[in-house]
Subunit: 259 residues, 2 copies
């Protein structure tokens, strides 16, 4: 781990946030010493701050002495626009898609250079996928990510392509020129396709949710077993759902900005 | 608003948390002055803290100058045990229930004296309900709440009954003795029923998720139009789902505590 030389200059609020930021999917539970090491803060500071965070409910401490994100922080986070407005509006449309397909239905936004998964519906018969709510996956390897990239600001796409494109499977598109062509094709046909680019054995179809402004609010995708070759058949329903979500988002936006 | 006389003694981390705590369902977006008033902190302090919170991603500021909960805080919160483990395990079972009913499917835990809604599935044809993810509703007026109360520690129930029982509709059980009888009946038959006790026009059936320990991990409920009189018919599926969730939770618990 890289030592953060700015640590001593961090404010107390900044240190408290740093403690919240050290949890990740691989480390949802941490001991006090691991908190201190990962946040690069003295143990005594972490001890005091963790106590404050626990008493507010930003962290919780289980019977084994492990800390995890607390219920009150989770509750506050349900008020984030992405979780509240976007997810709440999208969910019934996602349910309709789930009912007709019984497959994984994804809702993602882009944050930085990642596709950030905001909602995922899946049943017992859906193909296993690595996405989870709150997960970040590379945009160029996922259906929702390619749908978002294909509609993104050209300057953003230029910066995306200028970075290394990590290979996730042997089918991930990692050549810059090929990805640029793929994004143009995606924009032209109006939906993105992936074929084992993120997970071997699964493929996906996704569309951007049309937004008022230039960038899409998010993207909606369906992930299925790659042996199924009827992805195109799913496009009309997917598109209707994305348009339905866009209409409701626009109505909600107007309601907020008028009142 | 009650003036908080402890405010000047709050630490900087405590003040930062106070800013996160002032958002609620009715106020998911707040101006800087509202943040200051609701957190009972000086404007200059709030200005500086809000800047720190925005730069970390705990808050975000929109084009109109309103603050809301930020994407990075939402992302960290997806790692809370209630959102990660419980929701992730329960979701496919909830989907099965949704598929067979097309109604609102709820997953709730109890926190303090409230039923806290962790997940909700609903489609376009489900009866409109006031629950949302992150919402708190009174335990005695909801199916999931009564299912949780019926299995709760007797001392907890005693304290619950000692408090005033708010009336939500004219059918809410607000008499202490009647609620105690209702909870005994719920425990005996193994599932909770409500009939327009939370929302006129809707009724619900719910079961507690059996847990290792004494208290249930959560409760699973279905909310339907009250004109339907076939709630009992839903019980076997509901119970099978709750037992399936309990088995997976136990397996996940063992996996975490062995490794």
């Amino acid at each position: 781990m890289v030592v953060n030389r700015d640590a001593p200059r961090r404010s107390m609020a900044g240190r408290a946030l740093a403690l919240l930021g050290v949890f990740d999917t691989a480390h949802p539970r941490l001991k006090l010493t691991e908190l201190a090491r990962r946040a690069d803060l003295p143990l005594a500071t972490v001890h005091r701050l963790a106590g404050e965070l626990v008493s507010w409910g930003a962290l919780e401490r289980d019977a084994d002495g492990y800390f995890s994100i607390g219920l009150r922080l989770w509750e506050a986070a349900t008020l984030a626009p992405v979780a509240g407005r976007l997810r709440e509006i999208a969910l019934p449309f996602m349910q309709d898609l789930y009912e007709t397909t019984r497959e994984n239905i994804h809702l993602a936004v882009h944050d930085g250079f990642d596709a950030l998964y905001v909602e995922k519906l899946s049943g017992h018969r859906s193909v296993p996928v690595i996405s989870r709510i709150g997960a970040r996956l590379p945009m160029h390897a996922t259906g929702v990510g390619k749908a978002l990239l294909a509609r993104a600001d050209p300057e953003f796409v230029r910066r995306y392509l200028a970075r290394p494109l990590p290979r996730v499977t042997r089918y991930t598109i990692t050549e810059r020129a090929r990805l640029a062509r793929e994004l143009r094709a995606t924009a032209e046909r109006g939906y993105a396709l992936t074929n084992e680019e993120m997970t071997l054995g699964s493929c996906s179809v996704a569309v951007a949710i049309p937004a008022d402004g230039y960038e899409p609010a998010g993207a909606l995708g369906i992930v299925v077993h790659s042996v199924r070759t009827d992805l195109h058949r799913l496009v009309p329903d997917l598109r209707a759902a994305a348009e339905g979500i866009a209409r409701r988002l626009e109505a909600a936006h107007r309601a907020v900005h008028v009142t």
